[in-house]
Structure formats: C-alpha cells, structure tokens
Symmetry: C2
C-alpha cells in the first residue's frame, strides 16, 4: 500500500501560521506524544514505580525502538540500539572501529562533516595518544584519500549545510576493498532518504532521532553495528546496560551479545516515550515512497525559488541522487534574510557563512507550503524588508 | 526556616496502598511533573519548535539545573552540569583524572562499588592500553591502599547494597596529601546525605538524578569538577555542546570554560522538564534537616525491625555517621521475602546474595510508613507466607 502522506501530515500538530522547514533540525510534535508522555509519567512511573522496568518493558525499549529504526535505515533487525546522544554514539563507533584496525593510524573524514563528529574524533585521538590522525579533505576528495593506511572512514552521509549526499554505496565498497572500517553518521539521512545499511555491509552507523524522525528535543541517539562484526566489538563505554547480565552485578565487565553491548547506562524512559509516538507515524511510511516524495518536493521548491528569487544561489546539488532531503541557498546576507523569513512564519535556519537551509519533510510538508514559502522569500528579497536592524542582531542559537 | 517534611510529602503522588521504600532506586513522581512534561512538549516543542532552544532556555538547562544540584551536594555554583548517564559521566571524570596524573597507573576503587563504575574503568583501561590497573580492595581497606602510585581514587560514597558510607572527608584529605585525583560517585548520596564537595576539595563528583532526587526514569546524570581544576581538564568526550562556541561550527574542538566543557551532546529536554519539577521540591529542603530526619527515620526502622524480626540481620552500619540513607537487612531467602513484601505493597528491593534493601527518603516517608512496613515484614517472616513458589521465581529486573 503506498504511503498516505495526507495521513502522516494529520499526525502532526503544527502552530497556526507557521510553515515549518526546519524538521531537519528539530522535528515537530507528533499528535499523541503529549498524551503518551503523560501516560508514561502518570501511570508507569507514578503507579508502577520501580516495577515498571519489568511491567512496562522499560528495560527492552532501547532494542525494541532500535528495531523500528532498523527498518528505516535498512539495517538488520537486532542490529540497532537506542540511547545516549549522537556524539556519544560516534565515540563508541569510532573507538570500536580503531580497535578493529590496530595497525592503521588514519581516521578519514571530510571538512564538511558536522563538527561534533570531528570533535569526538579529536577527543578520542587525544585520549588514546597513539599517533592517530584525523584527515579531513573536501568531501569530493574523500575517495582519493582512501588507502590501506586508513583505519576508519567516518562520514556524515548528508551534509548538514548543503544537503549534498555522499555516494555511500561506492565509498563503502571501496573502503571494504581496502580493509577500512566504515562509520556512517545518518543524522541527516535517517527518515530523510532510503538507506540499505545491511545491503552495503556498513560496519557502524550512528544517528539521532530528533531531526527527521521527530523524536523530540534531545531525543536519544542510535547505533547500528554489522551483525557479523558485533561480537568482535570491544566497547570503550562499557556500562552496566551493555553487560551480558546487568543485574548479576558482577565485578567484571563481560559484553552482552551483539549490539546490546553498545548500550551504556540507564535508558531515558521519558524521552523514549515521545520517540515511540513519533515512530508510530514512521511505521506507516514506506521509505522508497518517502524518497520519491522528498525529491519531488525538493525539485518543486528549487524551481519555485529559482523562478522568483534571482538573488539567491542554489547550494544543494541539482542532481537528485546527490542530495538528501533539504534545499539550501546562498545569500550574502543569509542571516538577516532567514530572520526576516522566520518573522513571517517561514521557519528554516541559517548556517554560516551564507546558507539559508530548508528541510524538506514529506511527512508534514506539501507543495502548497513550499509555494507559500518561496513566495514569501521572493517578496522579502524584492522589497528589502529583510534589511532591518532587528534581523541583523545575532542570537546564540541554533 | 526548618524544612517542612509534611509539605514535601504532599508534593508526591504515591499509589494507594503502597509503602515505597525504593526511592533510592527510582524516586516517585512529583506532583506537577506530568503537567510540566505536557507543557514542555505541547507549548515549547509543539509551538516554539526549533526556536525554543532560545525562547524556552533549553540550551541553558544543563547548567541551570546543575546549579540547583550544586547546592544539594555542597558544590560551588557553576561547577556542575547535567546530561548523559551516570556511567558516561564516570567515564568523563575518570579519563580526565588519568590525564591529570600521567605518571601513575593505578585506579583505586573498592569491591563494593557499583559494578558499572568498575566496568567503565575497565573499558577505559582497555581503550587506553597504557598499563593502567584497577585495584578493588574491600571498602575498609581502601585507605591502606592509598599511595603515591595511585593515580585516581574512584569511590561510590554510599554502598548500594549495605548503605555503608565511606569517610569522604578523611579519604579525600589523605588522597590530596598523596597527589591522588579524587572521583566520588554520589549516586546514593545526592539527596540522601549532607555533602560538602567544595569544602573537601573533591576533584570530580558524578551522580544520577533518578534516585533520591526523583528526576524520573532514566533522568540524566551530573558531573561536578573543582573550579580551579576545570580549565585544566581535557575532555575525552569532546562533543559540540562542550565547545567554547558550539554554534560557530569550527572544525577544531576548543573546550568551553569550566565545567561546561563536560557537556557532550544535545541536552535531553523532556527528561530535564521532569527533573526540574523534582528540583522544585528540593529547593525547599535544607540538607542538614534532611540528614537529621534521614538518620532519625533510619534508626526508627532499624529498631522496629529488630524488635519484631529475629530472622534478619542488620547489614547497614549501626553507627549513624557510617551510613547513607538506606537500611539493609540480610535474610538467607531475601529474594523471596522481598517478593512477598512487594506483594503486600511494601516496595523495597533485593540485592544478591541475601540483602533486603529499604530506601529511607524523608521527602515522602514517615514513621507511620516504616512502622507498617516493619509490621508486615514481621508477619511475613513469622507466618512463613514468603515461602511460596511464586515468590521464588526470579524475574530479570531490577
């Protein structure tokens, strides 16, 4: 049955007068999430208290939710677990990957990667102090840097600024030929594009659930590990929830089987409740349909903006295969332009130095929204109303 | 003004017919938490969407909440931040501590420490592969093991099974004399006893917020660092939220000032909402009053049980100064006895091999509760009703 995008749209409760093109930064509130949160807090926490770890299945949530995410990223069932933050999951994947390639010293990434991934690599390299190096060529030069000196290829598939999408299949295959361990960050891929982690034989994949997956602010991260590799992984963050028998309270760590060893501490039950509601919507989505719809909407928006806004330049690749699910334009005064747009109810975001970023989220955005957004952008650029002092004033976030 | 424990009691909504003596494992639901969660989800997430990072102050939560916890543990304002899980916070403290003592190889803990702390140390030692050793004597032998070979003293102040409390002042002072970095785990101390982290000059303290602090299932951990040490800490988990300028999206990690560098990823906003409601109750509590009341209640319970239950043996130190805020008894069939108690509405928990554990939580427990609990325990032991097949059947958790 084809995905019903009218039904998914009805599953979200967006504010009146807002066109929300920032679901790639923080997904909107799914209807039902408030009630589910209240129910978990009031009934499970409030009434079952400590017993809810069993009676409400809290302890199994990380793996149950992991399985629901597995389908969305094309991972095998039982190969994904949920918890912590994406940055912590990057650390886990990267430290495990380096252990699997002990004689190599290079972590290859790119200079368009989300900074936190680079930071986590830098922190790990500093802590290990074994002469590892982080190499960050331009994205298009990554392939040329693949060699038998590279221990780990760590890339974010979709660029958070431009929406440019790496060729995951090609880079993963080439990495495999060279004995390089692969770590793919799916922050801007999960819920955005169709993926086949298992088919490609990706070693580690990590991601977050608060962007396209709509899990809520600060919703947990996830990590996937190739099933036939999982039992060779030695966890650096060897917490009790990743122990073979967490409630045996043994003195010595023995990793659990498979991806469960990449659990760390107590699961964030309340955050999981909101995420579950968000995944109820995703359970009804076919990822090939999503990708088709995302590309159609993206092209529609590119055409609409380019037809009306000569002052902006497309920053996202024109080739559909080379982009994720966002459309970015450059404007020399992008910051002020975005503030003016937001003041008009068109919420996207700005990324330095000059990028206007718009998330294309088929679950709750349609052509009408995009036409209206393009029209407002055109008007603001034409009448110069973006050029007011209040729109140039920088605030801290986000 | 002395703490009004009738008012704190009224701040919790406990199920009818339950005497909850497991607030040291998962604190109960504060009244107001459901509404606060719903409000954050519906209004902040749902209506403000991405803008709430500024408009609702989400980005400052880790430090604002950290300051509220700081008072409860006697830490300096600005020296505590909240996030991740306790296990991750242990890793951060321990890896930073080892960097501060590069020529020493021993992590000294004890064999009564909560296993996850030991596991995290083992994982870190394995990852670093620089010949560190974890030494775990019996708790009473820790002091004799302090020497100039020890890099880090990592202890949980209050034993999770027996409630035995280390002499933090004495051990910290002795460690300082020997140049040992101190890492105190306050999992069973924060909200349980009066603490003076700053006065003692503790280097790192970590803890969780879902036990005595009542922050909710899977509520985040916290970490405190001695202010004059903080800027010498090199974070191993160098995430973007610990960067000096997270939204500059620089390629290179530069740690933020002070404890903020021990932030890692995106803050768990929904979990923080529940925790804030719990801290509203704590804001009205004087910690010296809490300690007095805790010891009075603990002694009351010990007396009541010992007077009526000859079959159990006190596992908690009789000396008030040497215990935290729980009372544990041994019984050879402790597991079944605890299941029978739970079936009667007296919720404590069991810890292998033979410990019945009862959390003493003055915020919502009084003498009447403890008298009733002791009476039910006495009856169960006397009439042998604990010795039924269903009470011997082991379940996974907790």
């Amino acid at each position: 049955m084809p995905t019903d995008f009218n039904a998914t749209r009805a599953a979200f409760d967006l504010p009146e007068g807002v066109i929300y093109l920032d679901g790639n930064s923080l997904g909107p509130l799914p209807r039902g999430a408030v009630d589910r949160l209240a129910q978990v807090a009031r009934d499970e926490w409030g009434q079952h208290l400590i017993r809810a770890w069993n009676s409400a299945g809290w302890m199994d949530q990380p793996d149950m939710i992991g399985d629901r995410i597995a389908r969305l990223i094309g991972a095998d069932p039982g190969s994904v677990t949920v918890g912590d933050t994406l940055s912590v999951k990057v650390f886990q994947a990267l430290s495990a990957a380096l252990e699997l390639a002990p004689d190599r010293k290079i972590i290859l990434s790119d200079n368009g990667n989300f900074p936190s991934d680079l930071y986590m690599a830098q922190g790990l390299i500093g802590a290990l102090d074994r002469g590892h190096r982080l190499v960050t060529p331009a994205p298009q030069e990554v392939e040329a840097h693949l060699s038998e000196d590279v221990a780990v290829l760590m890339l974010t598939e979709v660029d958070y600024r431009t929406g440019r999408r790496h060729d995951m299949a090609r880079l993963t295959r080439r990495a495999q030929e060279l004995g390089i361990v692969t770590v793919w960050d799916l922050a801007h891929s999960a819920g955005a594009v169709d993926l086949d982690i298992a088919g490609l034989g990706v070693d580690f994949a990590v991601g977050c659930t608060y962007k396209f997956l709509n899990g809520g602010p600060g919703a947990p991260g996830f990590i996937a590990v190739r099933p036939d590799l999982a039992d060779r992984v030695r966890p650096s963050l060897s917490g009790w929830l990743g122990h073979e028998a967490p409630f045996a309270f043994d003195q010595d760590y023995r990793p659990a089987e498979g991806v469960r060893r990449l659990r760390v501490g107590t699961p964030p039950v309340l955050a999981m409740a909101a995420l579950e509601t968000a995944l109820d919507v995703w359970d009804r989505v076919d990822m090939a349909d999503l990708r088709d719809r995302s590309l159609a909407l993206s092209s529609h928006f590119i055409d609409a903006v380019e037809a009306q806004c000569p002052d902006v330049t497309l920053a996202t690749p024109r080739d559909p295969a080379a982009r994720g699910s966002q459309v970015s334009f450059r404007h020399p005064q992008g910051y002020a332009v975005m503030q003016a747009l937001i003041a008009e109810g068109v919420i996207g975001d700005f990324r330095a130095p000059d990028i206007l970023r718009f998330g294309i989220t088929p679950l709750f955005i349609d052509e009408g929204d995009l036409d209206r957004a393009a029209g407002i952008l055109a008007r603001i650029l034409k009448d110069g109303s973006w050029d007011r002092p209040e729109f140039h004033r920088r605030v801290a976030v986000t």
